[in-house]
């Protein structure tokens, strides 16, 4: 356990060195959000609520889901794992005194943490400027949402690592990462589940989208304890399921590994 804490510490310190490069991304994020606000303001012209959401709630929903997405954009879970497998470097990694997957997850989490905190701050500022504070938010609900958002970031990373592990079999896992990001964008970020037809909405409730996108954002918008427990339990179950799948895929991949010396 100590070694993984050390990985978190060193990666976190490393990420802090590059925090200035995030500022330029904030501008892009702010502009993307203002374009989406323009779109939703126009859609809400003739309506006060759509599928139970006011314009303010809708914009905060977008901000919160985008925060998880932008905040968890760490190359550790995507390019680093993919390149490690493709280059054969994984042969060295699996001989080290740690489990490669746990190492990747802890490194991803540490790398993404500073990014996530920075995007949370910028999202809050944007939300307050554009539409004002979330209605009925309290300190308790805000603090309760923190573990849910952190678990959402963790699950996002685990899914990305799982996709990267396909590099054991395919030339490039990048197209699969792209498909995943589009699915999240359309079904998890742009619209809350209630805005889809009932059948699609019901299906989405049983997918990771519920844990990584809809659930955390909805909890922040309308907090209640039973919903908090519901999301938390769903996230823990999702983590267990993905861990099992990662373990199976990783074991099979390593068994298939054939590295030429040099």
């Amino acid at each position: 356990m100590k070694k993984y804490l050390y990985i978190i510490k060193t990666t976190f310190n490393d990420s802090i060195q590059y925090i200035s490069s995030l500022f330029i991304r904030f501008i892009g994020f702010a502009i993307t959000m203002s374009i989406l606000l323009s779109l939703w303001t126009f859609i809400y012209q003739d309506n006060t609520t759509i599928s139970g959401y006011t314009l303010k709630e809708m914009f905060w929903y977008l901000l919160l889901t985008e925060t998880i997405t932008f905040g968890s954009k760490s190359p550790v879970a995507t390019n680093e794992v993919k390149n490690c497998i493709k280059s054969g470097n994984i042969a060295y990694q699996i001989n080290k005194p740690y489990h490669y997957i746990i190492y990747s997850i802890t490194k991803y989490f540490a790398d993404t943490l500073i990014r996530f905190i920075a995007f949370t701050i910028i999202s809050t500022i944007l939300g307050l400027i554009y539409v004002g504070p979330i209605n009925n938010i309290s300190i308790i609900s805000f603090i309760s949402c923190i573990p849910v958002f952190l678990l959402a970031v963790l699950i996002t990373g685990m899914i990305k690592i799982l996709i990267s592990l396909t590099s054991f079999w395919v030339e490039d896992s990048q197209p699969f990462q792209m498909i995943y990001s589009k699915i999240i964008l359309i079904f998890g970020i742009f619209f809350p589940i209630e805005m889809f037809p009932k059948i699609i909405g019901n299906i989405l409730r049983y997918t990771p989208i519920y844990s990584v996108s809809y659930g955390p954002a909805k909890l922040m918008l309308s907090y209640n304890f039973s919903f908090f427990l519901n999301i938390l339990i769903t996230q823990i179950i999702t983590i267990i399921i993905i861990s099992i799948i990662i373990n199976i895929v990783y074991r099979r991949g390593v068994r298939k590994l054939n590295v030429n010396g040099g």
Partner: protein, 264 residues
């Protein structure tokens, strides 16, 4: 002068031909990139289908009209990156001193640079543009007009990219800002004009001219207006001239890295 133009065009076509041969060498990778890009763009149909279940119109636009914005933007962007992807690499060339290889050749430097590379996935954008047009707004007239307008759109986009990237001659690490400006251009062109306020519209017609590459062509396809078409061509020419001017002004500040390397 005419011979010089002819020679430069010949060089550009040869460059494009060899770029294409190069990307076709790995067909599986090429086809994967293309199909992924088509999937990427097509996913946004779901976004708009969902929006149109919530509201009947966006301004006066129907789903078919909105898909025209996508078709035009995707087609223009695709064509620009197939033909002139080198424009995206200007910052890399400047920062790493790679322009040397182009400066020693007796050809137009900018034309040579912008045609030096192609983006395989851009074929997906171009193909998607035509698919979207055929599904949502098919007519022979539209296909002809669309083909013409995406060429204009590609020239506007490329000129904008050259203008942005030419600032790398003056400012260190301007490439990141340039990427953001390109993102704004693309984001502005895929959304309909009616959702933006007047201030943003002015910006999108002038500083970040995505309105010229997308909104105006969409309106021309919906209802052709010769006056607007001529103005669009004039604006495109002005942008091209500005792009050439800024690039060559910046080039005077370029210092060689004495880097010895062969061009791939």
């Amino acid at each position: 002068m005419l011979t010089e133009v002819k020679n430069n065009l010949k060089i550009m076509f040869l460059s494009l031909k060899y770029n294409l041969i190069r990307v076709m060498e790995n067909r599986v990778s090429f086809l994967t990139s293309v199909s992924m890009m088509i999937f990427n763009n097509a996913s946004f149909i779901i976004q708009w289908l969902t929006i149109f279940t919530l509201v009947e119109y966006i301004g006066s636009y129907t789903l078919n009209d909105i898909m025209l914005f996508w078709a035009i933007s995707s087609g223009s962007y695709g064509l620009a990156n197939i033909l002139f992807n080198g424009a995206n690499k200007i910052p890399e060339y400047i920062e790493n001193g790679k322009l040397d290889a182009y400066l020693v050749m007796p050809k137009n430097v900018l034309c040579h640079v912008i045609t030096s590379s192609t983006e395989p996935s851009a074929w997906g954008d171009l193909i998607y543009g035509y698919i979207a047009l055929i599904i949502f707004n098919f007519s022979i007239k539209n296909i002809f007009l669309y083909s013409l307008l995406i060429i204009i759109g590609a020239l506007i986009y490329t000129s904008f990219v050259i203008i942005c990237n030419s600032f790398t001659f003056y400012f260190i690490r301007f490439s990141e800002t340039s990427e953001i400006l390109k993102d704004i251009f693309i984001n502005g062109s895929i959304y309909p004009d009616v959702i933006f306020n007047r201030a943003i519209k002015i910006i999108f017609f002038t500083l970040i001219p995505c309105a010229l590459a997308s909104w105006v062509p969409v309106h021309l396809i919906i209802e052709f207006n010769i006056y607007h078409f001529i103005l669009l061509i004039l604006a495109t020419n002005i942008l091209i001239i500005i792009a050439f001017f800024l690039f060559y002004q910046g080039l005077k500040r370029y210092t060689s890295s004495n880097l010895m390397e062969a061009r791939s």
